[in-house]
Amino acid sequence: MSTIFWEISKRNIRLHLLRSSLAMLGIVIGVVAIAAMGILGSSMVLMVSDTLSSVGDSVIVTPYSGGGGNPMGPSGGSSGTMTSMKLTDQDFQKIKRIAAPNVAIPVLQTAEHMRVGVGSEDIVATMYGLPPEDVPGLLILSAGGYNSGESGCLVGSTFADDHNINVGSRISIGINGEKGTLRVTGIIEERGMSFDVSTDNAVVVTKDWFETTYDRNDEYDQVVVKVKSGDTADVKTAIENQFNRNPRQKTVSVTDSNELLATIYETFGTITTFVTAIGGISMIVAGVSIFNIMMMSVTERIKEIGIMRSIGTRKYGVMRMFLYEAAIIGVVGSVIGGVLSLVAGYAMSAFMLQTTKYLFTVSSMIPVVEGILFGIVVCLACGFYPAWQAANLNPIDALRHE
């Protein structure tokens, strides 16, 4: 790097400091735009991943509804071998056998009026009925204990917060409490968005209480298989092979949570790429600016190029001198941009995601490195043509240039 061309390039940048700084500013903005968008996208993916990781490794079986299953809960439709819109106990037993040794959990679900405390207004919330012995494997509590008796229930964390519910609180179920009163035995830890049971804003009761209260016998809204052994895709395929032998007469919809997670990550990845590409436009603009100043630099120094060539500088040497200039602008601008993108990424994460805990992770740092490399590559690419043009000037014409 100690060649005379490196030295001349450095001094020329110093001589035209304002012009070079403005070109660098363009690169800084380009790198910040790309890297900050990348950090934000990556942080979003990590946040969603954190939220959804608890629902991974599940296979959800619902009655076939014609247009594919709804992973967020059962919907209308009909099944050939089962009670309309429901899975029968026979279906559940079959699923259990297929999924063994994994645990299959039958889920009952409805929406219900309820009232919390004396004098409060009626609210409508989701109620789930689950076998008490399966609840610890499915839900984690943040307070209290699991419900074993029929008069107890668990509530979701958001539901508890919104209605000031604590362990021991009582909830009247039905309009004017016609379906009885339940005591809260535990608060369920926040689960976020989930594909099986979304309990954050719901009440979970025992399967027996649910069946007795709503007169439901041996029919379920969905069956959740928690896959601890083997692959979710294999379990999904096994269930589908048994239930949906005839593709024209499907009886169940089977959803693999890992498959859905992959689709969601892919979607976020596409969104991140898109916003990063928008940031890339500013880099293109910066590149045009670099090209412009490099062309100016060549035009101003035609005579100097002529002298260099006449006293024995090879074309490659002239080219190197201009490429060094583009590289200096690119490296300095990109590194400054990389540092500033961390600040911008921090601010955007804090403002848009309400958290900065995903900022200094490997996947969030990758866009910074990519932004820096892209900035350098753009500078070199935009400096290449002016450098090539300088190197290929006719020495005699260049010497005559005034």
Binding site: S2, I4, I8, I307, I311, T313, R314
Partner: protein, 223 residues
């Protein structure tokens, strides 16, 4: 002994839209080692074309040029460039120093081209002393020097690689007569030490310092 420069029936034609212009028309001559030659002629006679061909900055339309026995026509662009760097020293009317470099860096430039790295300033100091430039100016840039001082630096730069030939294009054309005389005296001294010098000029006073004069008129050698 092999001539330093040999022109053999050299013609140079510039194709222009208005019609071809013959700048040099079947020129032949030789330059022996240690000669001090003035090339004279009126404007447009072909002096600059001759200089460009001798300096390997251009190639002839026909005929052959030999520099130190090597035929220019057979050389690639890089070989011609290296030939200029190693065997030819250029001295220009407007000095043509690099304004971003100081005196020592300007003088060392051809050496640095050769080595590709920073070189010991010892040789530059030696050459600068030989061209009688005051030592306190060595760290100045060319913009801080007078015309005569700049030309001394340019001569030092031309000498740094011990070239076979010094090609000078109107070396005193941009200097006052007193400084011009001292530069020509310097060249005479260099010639006495063995340098082959060719001066393109239309100043008869400059030609008086040389041992031989080649006159060019309408692209041909008149005498």
């Amino acid at each position: 002994m092999q001539p330093v420069i040999q022109f053999s029936d050299v013609t140079k034609i510039y194709p222009l839209r208005a019609g071809d212009v013959t700048a040099l028309d079947h020129i032949s001559f030789e330059v022996e080692r240690g000669e001090f030659i003035a090339v004279m002629g009126p404007s447009g006679s072909g002096k600059s074309t001759l200089l460009n061909l001798m300096g390997c900055l251009d190639t002839p339309t026909s005929g052959d040029i030999f520099i130190g026995g090597s035929r220019v026509r057979d050389m690639s662009d890089d070989q011609l460039t290296d030939l200029r760097r190693d065997r030819i020293g250029f001295i220009f009317q407007y000095f043509n120093l690099f304004p971003l470099l100081n005196v020592i860096e300007n003088v060392n430039f051809p050496l640095m081209l050769k080595s590709g790295t920073v070189v010991d300033p010892k040789k530059a100091l030696e050459v600068l002393r030989a061209v009688q430039l005051e030592e306190e100016l060595y760290t100045h840039t060319s913009l801080e020097l007078s015309g005569g001082q700049q030309q001394r630096v340019a001569i030092a730069r031309a000498l740094i690689n011990n070239p076979d030939i010094l090609l000078c294009d109107e070396p005193t054309g941009n200097l006052d007569s007193r400084t011009g005389k001292s530069i020509m005296q310097l060249m005479t001294d260099l010639n006495k030490k063995g340098s082959t010098i060719i001066v393109i000029t239309h100043d008869p006073m400059v030609a008086e310092y040389t041992k031989r004069t080649i006159r060019i008129e309408d692209g041909r050698i008149a005498s």
